[in-house]
Structure formats: structure tokens, C-alpha cells
Amino acid sequence: MTCNETEARVLSELLEIQNLKTYYPIRSGVIQTTKNYVRAVDDVSLILVKGECLGLVGESGCGKTTLGKTLLRLEKPSAGAVYFNSEENGGGKLLDITTFSGNRLKQLRKRMQIVFQDPTTSLNPRMLIKNIIGEGITIYNLARGREKIDRVAELLNSVGLNRDHMMRYPHEFSGGQRQRIAIARALSTKPDFVILDEPTSALDVSVQAQILNLLIDLKNEYNLTYLFITHHLLVVEHISDRIAVMYLGKIVEISRTKTLFAGALHPYTIALLSAIPYPDPDIRRKRIILTGDVPNPIDPPEGCRFHPRCWLAVERCRIEEPLLEDAGDGHFVACHRKDDLAAEYHTHRYRR
């Protein structure tokens, strides 16, 4: 995606990522010279519209979490820009947050929050729930004393817990309740943008349903924008408006959820969709079995990064790297063979 969008679009944008790269250097030798890089996020461009939920899907090690952390400036980007529509900093202007530091960065972080994957490790076991949720409120001086306690109680109520839970420690709660606390903590500074990094993958199905419902309710109530990072395609189908599929540091396909599930255009997405086990014994699909594992991001394959595992790869895929191209109706795909795939797709239908 480029930034040549209409004025109206720019106003509704919350976040724009341009050619973002996050590389981790590999150092070795006596003087620790940089030998190579792990290309965790490699040239990613994305736009997030206010109030939407963008699902970010990919296998482990593809750079989903690194991308999320880079957006929050928890990791330092190696190149590229992240523009954030921060109302406080000059009203509706997109500012490049990769240049922020000090107090500006602190003020920015108030507006973007994260919920981590495993609530047992993301909550400090020695802090009371009151202090875990109230920490952000204290740091940003949003409320004090009795007012702060009321605010914490209000947050606990909004995630389905109550005032009595305030004076307890994390170990006294079940997994689902802990994730609720983590969500309340993320909401304590009244953010615009919340990154959800696999918030339900450590939970059971029945609890997962509760948390997903809660997230949908909170999004409508507080007018939030979500970046939902997950590897579980059925969860992301349920909650997201749009889905971006990531493979080895690159976005390979991005489209509306319905379009993606009805007609994915990248072979990797099709293989992913075909591999989901459906909880319905009547749906028997042909699983597309990808050979091998995700390659090492230190030394990614040349050309299209998916070509060693792709069943449609031709000579061109080995040499030339495909770019994200518009396939109509906001559906972008990076594949040389997307036109051939449209015909091929019907033989590989993943659903009845």
C-alpha cells in the first residue's frame, strides 16, 4: 500500500506503517562485529483505520509479535516509519513515532497498549490487582486516592470482575480471569489502539469465547482499534474486519475477512486455510500439506520467500520478489501466480 490515499481516508487513519524493518544483528568474534541480521520484520507497509480490528496471522517465527512490539516502540525499528494519528499531538495529524523520545514517547504510549499472550507470566505475582491496574493511572497522573480506586473498580467492572477482586494477587485467579485483568490494565490509560498478542491461545475454548465476547464489547464501548495477532484462523475470522497474512517477515496477503475466507489469492493463505481443523465432521476438505518448515529468517530464500514450499512455484518466483499488488476491493496480494491461482483454486477448495 502506498500513501496516495484520499484526504478523507487520511483523516480516518489511525496508524500508517511505511516500509518498516526490524533487524536483529548477529554479532560474533572478539570485537563483536555484526556478521548478519535476523530479518524479523522486512519491509512491511500497512494502514490501520480508526475503529477497525486488523487480524495479523502467521506461523511462529514469522515476525508477528516483533511487528507489534515495533509499533509500540518496544523494539527499535531498523528502517521505515510509523505514523500515528495522535489527537493530542496537534490534532488529526499523522506523526512519525519512530523519531519520538523522552516525554513525547511516554505520552504516546498512553494511547497505545498491549495485552500479552500468557497472563500467568505477564502479571507481576507480587503486586495486588489494585496496583497492577492502577500503575498506569499513577504514572500518567490520571487520578489519585479515592478517585483512582473508583477508576480501578470501574475498569474491573467493565471486564466482568468486581471491586472485591482488587485486594488479591494474580495467583488467586484462573487463566481467563487473569487475562481479564491484563485487559483491564491495558485499558487503564484510555488508549486508542490496543495490540492483542495471542490473547486467547493459552485459554480453553469456553473461556476463549468469554474473552472474545469481552473484547468485542470493549471495542464498541471505548471505540478502540485492535491489532489482533494470532495463529488461530477461526478466532481471527470471528473478530477481525480485515486480515493480514504474514510469512517470514513479509506481508503476503491482506484483505477483508470475508474476501479472504471466500477467495484467498496467495498459495500460502490457501494452504493455511486448508489446514484449519473444522469442528464439523461433515466438512472433509483436501488438506494442502506444505512440505518442510518455515525457513530461517537469517538467510531467507531469494525471490518469493515462499517458493521452496509452494506447489505452484515457477522460475520467476525463484528470481524475482513479488510485491503487494491490488487485486481489487482492498485485496492486496504478493504473488506472481495469482492469476493462475484463481483457476487452480477451484480444485483446491477448502470448504464445501
Partner: protein
Amino acid sequence: MAEPGTTDSILDIENLKVNFYTYEGVVRAIDEISFGLANGETLGIVGETGCGKSVTVLSILNLILPPGKIEDGTILYHENDSPVNLVEQSDEFMRAIRGNEISMIFQEAGNALNPVLSINRQVSESFLLHRQEELCTLVLKNIEKNLQKKRWPGLLLRYQKAKYTGKLRKARGNNLQYGRYGRLLKRQATELSIKLLESLGIPNPSEVILRYPHELSGGMQQRVVISMALACNPSILIADEPTSNLDVTIQAQILTLIEELKDKYRSSILFITHDLGVVSEIANRVIVLYAGTLVEFARVRELFKKPLHPYTRALLRSVPTPGKNGRLESIRGNVPNLLNPPSGCRFHPRCPEAMEICTQQKPALYVRKDRDGEKHMVACFLYKE
């Protein structure tokens, strides 16, 4: 399809009861579970965390360690038409069974493999422990071949022949031997392991076998763990969440592999999972466990199309499915603490259809017939005739 007690089943579990004696009190982890595993079927065991899925299968292998204890019940293993109660057997007998006739694929392959031993050591171990007779015969055959060709040195070959004939005699007498195995025996086991890894679709097995677990990816580690379980061609294969830590594409590879292997080795599989999608793809029949009790037992299609127990119905509704928008239905409340489980039906505090009787009595397994006349069992008073 088998019922407990018929000759068709290979494993019958009756009234199994397992308690854990902790400092806080007695955890009633399994409360009177009965089911049968039919010959050649894949039986799925579904349930949430802490419902007793793993404890059930660990008690089959007699691997419940203190403070846990199998309080009551029988686990009948129908081996050569003479049922053996696995609960009462000695450790020595169980060692001969484990990994040989009943083997297990453990959750999290990364932790199941020993990080300081090479793949070779770990895969060959099952052959060396349970297949000594076969290995000795193979070794002797090789020596014989070399003797016939009059390979040098003849004296050493004749010494080895005597040595391995002795080993073979010992192996025939006793199923298990400990101590030194001999170089040729190990070499033969390695050869068998390489063949086994190859049949599991591991590329370049003779090189992989020399590596250590950390050098392999998650999917490869899982394949190695599966190969260890399959080494002795077990009649029952227990798979404890074999795919839950893997990516979907790797999960698809492993599931396809397990399906192929089942056809090839004709094993019966007990497949434990919390993923309803996986169970609907791989299982023939399904058991649903809730808080240590069996709530429903039916064929997979019947269970997904016509679930009877309120818990199963709620569980199925809480799974996100494509094309279903809006709110998911969730089960109110939390899984009960098994230190003092609810009286009567353990699901009643969360059940929307709970009646007076549910709080007082534990429901028995009521048997219903599905469309094809197969049994569909459910532990709920709603279905009391």
C-alpha cells in the same frame, strides 16, 4: 463397534477412580470413568484443562506417581484373548508393556526428548529394550553372511557368533535385559531406527539421527517422538495433545501422518486433545470429559450433529466457526475446583437446564441409540427414561 466386555475391544476401563493426596486435601481427579477402546479405532478424548484427560491415559500405563493413586477400578488389556488387569501388574510387567504394546506420544515434543542424548540413542532405545531377539537374529544373519564369504578375520567373526548366539538365548528367555548391548546390536538398532524415521517422512534420516533434539524444528521433534512411540509397532497408541504446540500447517502434516500410520500399523489410537476441530477430523468415537467425569460418549458425527449433554452443547457453541458472526455463546462460571467438587452432577452449577435432582444425585450413563443403532451414552438426568 465395541462395548466394554465384548471381545471386540482391546482395552476396557471400568469405574476408574484416581485421587491425588495433596496438602490442601484430596483432589478427586477422576471419578468413576468407564469406556472401551475398540480394535483399530481412533478414540478422541476431549475436555478442558484439568478435566482429567492426561490422568486417564497415564493411569492406563500405570504412570500415576505419588501423591496420586489409582483408588479403584479395572483397566483390562485384551492381549492374546486373555485379559490382563493393568492396575494390578508389577512394575516389571508394565515395563515390558510400555513402549512395546502400549506406547505414548507425549505433549510438547521439546520436553519429551532428552536434550543430552542424540536422536539415535533415544529412538534405538525401544528396539534395544523390546526387540532384542529380532536384533540378535539380524546380527547373526550378518555374521553368517560374512563367514560364508570368508571375510577376514574369521576368528573374530566366530567369537562374535558365539557371543550373539548366547545373547539371543538370553533374550528368548527374558523379555527385558539391562546392561551392555554390544556394538553390533546397537548398530543394528540404528539401522532399524533410520528406516523408521524414513517411513515417517523425515528427509535425510541418516544425518538427522546423529543430531540432538535442539537442532531440530518443532515439527521434526514431534516426528521423532512419534517414531519412538511406533518403534515396536504397538497395539495401542496414546497421543496426548500431539499437535497442540505446533503451527497449523505442521499440525496438518502430523495429523495426516498419524492417519497414514494408523492404516499401516493397524493400531488403536487414543487421541487426547482440547481442539474440537482436530477431534472431528481424526476420531471415530469421542469421549467428553468434564471435571473428572465422563459426560458423553458417542460416534464423532453424532456428537457434533446431535450433542445431548448440556456441557457438550455449550462447548460446541463456544467454538468460533466460519460464517457465524456476532457473539459466541460461552459457558457461565468456571471449572470447579476438584478439591471439593459440586455434589451430584459436577456440571450442575453451570448448567442452564439443571434440575432439583442434579444437585443431589450423580447421573448414571444413560444409553441412547443413534440413527444407525449405535450407542450414544450420556450422563445427564434429562435423558433418564
